[in-house]
């Protein structure tokens, strides 16, 4: 009889569960059938909304407190198709006179957006405050229409600091997955390059929000919780915006880069790259369509040539060769070499840039005239390894550590590398090429500047930086690595740099500026194309240097002409602005 008893008991258990399931059935019926339309209404206009309070992104200021990037509030007129539904035509008819946009154009922008029914569609972007207020007042009669506010980034100096500042843009899908939800919303824009990217953590604010209940018209009923927004912090740069603009104008229609550094702390006064682009275009959805043009352009206007471009340095590298020779005792600063216009190295003819020859040259003259034969001889006797290690001491073949993203490393060749990578022996010819800054050698303009600054400061390899203050608190400081040098040898080289600008036969004489003694070195490096790259590195005042600079004009021809004349203008500006 146990068997039957079990069956009865199992049946009762079954009945018990059935009752529970029946209760669920009843409440399903109540929820979905009896109150279905009520809940449908609730879900259509879900009464819980979050109103985000967007904090302004921090400003970027120059060293004199001028604004070079800031955010203002822009208004977009948007519509949610799901809510607008059939009234959209009428809505457009009402809105078009307010926005002064043709009805057909609005209809078109509504239709064109293939976004899902839940995503808002932008009818008109960046409308004026007055227009926004007018529309806001009419919202009751236009279901689904919204005025959305968005901080719009503005760069008043337009294209003159584009590479330095970078721009902001929407996050990629991967970034959206990786963000800290307390700090970012998926719709936030983030810094994409330059200072905007590097100092994103400071510039970015944290959105606050109000969770609230709204009535069926979407109007605020009561607040359920508030989080205060946190503003982005202002970042003040060491850059002088006016110098930046002045320099960019000098580079118009050229390709190349100029970087100016003050020698007190190593702060960058200007960092220009040409061709440039207008950061403002990246700030609006409309402008971003034009951006594709930049990305595909052959002369890569988006690249910051100053820190990312890598070029053979040519004769501006000769100081390294000279110091390498002097330091290991193979070169006496008073020794004189004869330049017949060429040198035979390993049976091959290595020309001096002046084919007629410089005649007898000592170090000062050789630097002033940039005599190649002198440095072939110096380099070969000093040896490639000592040039290599001297170059590394001066910061080549490594990042300077500047506070900007995407810095290039450059390249200094040596015997080991050639054996390993090319499986070839290192010849004297390679040493000769290296000695005059040609061959496999590649440097960034910023590295050339760091070298120049190290010479100017008698051996301090300063860490270049663009950050000056955060929210008014100074954070920059002089930070340098000591380059070991014998003062007498350094003096000999600096004398040559002085002569290069201030003697009548000096290659850099076009860089002179009345009232300030400039010292420097020109370079003309082979680019593989008919027109050479033109370089100038220099500092001023020669007696007690305050500013160092590098000028590179890609395919500009002679360094002594194309680059030195740009340097001349900039020294003039610096003099007028009391930097010298």
């Amino acid at each position: 009889m146990v068997y039957q008893k079990g069956e009865i008991r199992a049946g009762r258990l079954s009945l018990f569960i059935f009752i529970l399931i029946f209760i669920i059935f009843i409440s399903l019926f109540r929820l979905q059938v009896l109150k279905g339309s009520y809940y449908y209404e609730l879900s259509e206009k879900n009464r819980l909304r979050v109103l985000y309070l967007e904090p302004p992104r921090g400003k970027i200021l120059d060293r004199k407190g001028r604004t070079i990037a800031a955010s203002r509030l822009s208004f977009n007129c948007t519509v949610i198709p799901r809510e607008a539904k059939s009234t959209i035509h009428e809505t457009i008819r009402v809105i078009s006179p307010v926005l002064k946009v043709d009805e057909l154009r609005l209809e078109e922008s509504f239709k064109k957006s293939k976004a899902g029914a839940f995503q808002s569609v932008i009818l008109a972007e960046d409308i004026s405050l007055a227009e926004a207020i007018t529309i806001e007042e009419m919202l009751d009669s236009m279901p689904g229409v919204l005025i959305e506010t968005r901080p719009q980034r503005e760069y008043p100096y337009r294209d003159s600091a584009a590479h330095l500042l970078g721009y902001t843009g929407p996050m990629t899908d991967q970034e959206k997955e990786a963000i800290d939800p307390l700090e970012y919303r998926p719709t936030d824009w983030v810094g994409r390059d330059g200072v905007e990217k590097f100092y994103e953590n400071y510039l970015h604010g944290r959105a606050g929000g109000i969770q609230m209940e709204v009535n069926s018209r979407g109007r605020f009923m009561r607040s359920l919780g508030v989080r205060e927004p946190r503003d982005g912090r202002n970042v003040e740069l060491t850059v002088d915006a006016e110098l930046q603009k002045f320099t960019q104008d000098l580079l118009r229609n050229k390709k190349g880069s100029v970087i100016v550094m003050e020698l007190g702390e190593g702060g960058i006064l200007a960092m220009n790259s040409a061709p440039s682009f207008d950061s403002n275009l990246f700030a609006s959805t409309r402008g971003r369509k034009e951006v594709g043009r930049y990305l595909q352009a052959v002369h890569s206007p988006m690249m910051n040539r100053g820190i990312r471009g890598q070029f053979p340095p040519g004769s501006i590298f000769k100081m390294i060769t000279a110091l390498a020779g002097l330091e290991n005792g193979k070169l006496k600063s008073t020794a004189s070499f004869h330049c017949p216009g060429f040198l035979l190295v390993g049976g091959k003819r290595f020309n001096c840039w002046d084919h007629s020859g410089h005649g007898a040259q000592r170090l000062t003259e050789a630097l002033a005239h940039s005599c190649d034969v002198y440095f072939y001889l110096t380099g070969i006797s000093a040896g490639s390894e000592s040039i290599y290690s001297k170059a590394v001491e001066f910061g080549f073949s490594q990042k300077s550590g500047i506070d900007l993203p995407g810095e290039g490393i450059g390249f200094v060749p040596n015997r080991e590398w050639k054996k390993k990578k090319k499986n070839q022996a290192w010849y004297d010819g390679d040493t000769a090429n290296l000695a005059i800054g040609q061959g496999f050698l590649q440097v960034t303009p910023l590295q050339a500047l760091v070298m120049t600054a190290a010479l100017a400061t008698n051996g301090d390899r300063l860490a270049p930086h663009v950050l000056h203050k955060i929210d008014g608190v100074k954070v920059s400081e002089r930070h340098g690595v000591r380059v070991p040098m014998t003062p007498a040898y350094l003096e000999a080289v600096k004398k040559g740099l002085d002569a290069a600008v201030n003697t009548e036969t000096g290659t850099g004489r076009l860089a002179r500026y009345p009232g300030v003694r400039v010292a420097g070195k020109t370079g003309t490096s082979q680019s593989g194309q008919p027109e050479d790259h033109a370089w100038f590195v220099g500092y001023a005042p020669a007696e007690k240097p305050k500013v160092a600079m590098v000028v590179l004009i890609e395919h500009g021809g002679h360094g002594g002409v194309a680059a030195a004349s740009v340097a001349h203008e900039i020294f003039g500006f610096l003099k007028k602005e009391n930097y010298l």
Partner: protein
Amino acid sequence: MRKRVYFKNFDKVLFLTPVLIFIIGILSIYSASFKAHEMIQQTLAVKQMLWMGIGILLVFLIARTDYFRLVDWAWPVYLFSLLLLLAVFFVPARLGAHRWISIGGVFNIQPSEIAKLAVILMLARFFSNNRPEFISKARLAQAFLIVAVPFLLILKEPDLGTGLILIPIFLSMLYLWGYSAKKILLMIGLGILAAPLLILFLKDYQRSRILVFLNPSMDPLGAGYTIIQSKIAIGSGGFFGKGLFSGTQNRLQFLPEKHTDFIFGVIGEEGGFVASCTVLFLFWLIIRRGYQIAGQTPERFGSSLACGMTTMIAFQTVINLGMTMGLLPVVGVPLPLVSYGGTSVIVTMICIATLINIKIHRPLF
């Protein structure tokens, strides 16, 4: 001969109903976790199908063997699950709880799910070895102990939902065994009286969930939000639903935990009353069949086993649906076969397989 018996007694309804429920579940998971840029093979739905594949394989594997061999497995499985329940505390907490053990970083197992099976197995063994008429109090205490140890460990994780499920499982098996119904009702009464005491041991969020259940508008930003949004989702589905992938509550991210515990919100919203009732009916089919098997199996072990497993599926279903509809507090119980989660799918399919097996292999007089 034996093969013919196997096929004749293989319960096709008990096999096909879970598969149907599972298909509805897959569609809901796909809809709930849909991301436009995601390729189909990366979706949770596909991962879930993999688990179901394993589950179905298990059905055929388990159905072939004789369920009575499980008696010998009771102790090892029980001890192993206790070990896992202890091990879980040495694994870093996820989402504030020690519930998962990661295996090779690829998938996570939930020891509490395995513990439920182990408890059922142990209880079935216990009830088959003892008769209600002659049992001493001390011996009966052993049955309580079998439940109490994993119960406390699971509560400590904390995983309130899974822990509480053990109680109806135990009581239903006790009842079917032949234990006095009066005494069981007395136990339930005492339990309810002791409940406020239990609340003292709950974590803050668990306590707030229960309080919010009593008054959802108390905390509209936190726990109450879930209940309100889930009710809106289910209710707004109406009679026919909004259509697959068209649920606004689902799509607009109003629904939290929607591919796991609150998956029924997606079904209710997108499939309406029709789909909700279909799911409800399909679950009822399984449950009814399960208790039938329990009642018609003349041998105590199989009968207890079937009863425990059916009760487990039944109560998980009822509690999950109850909480998504605001009838019960949010305690975190997955909907069997529907909610995303590998362990839960496998465990449920093992139950289904065992029920099918019991029906095939039970001795008939």
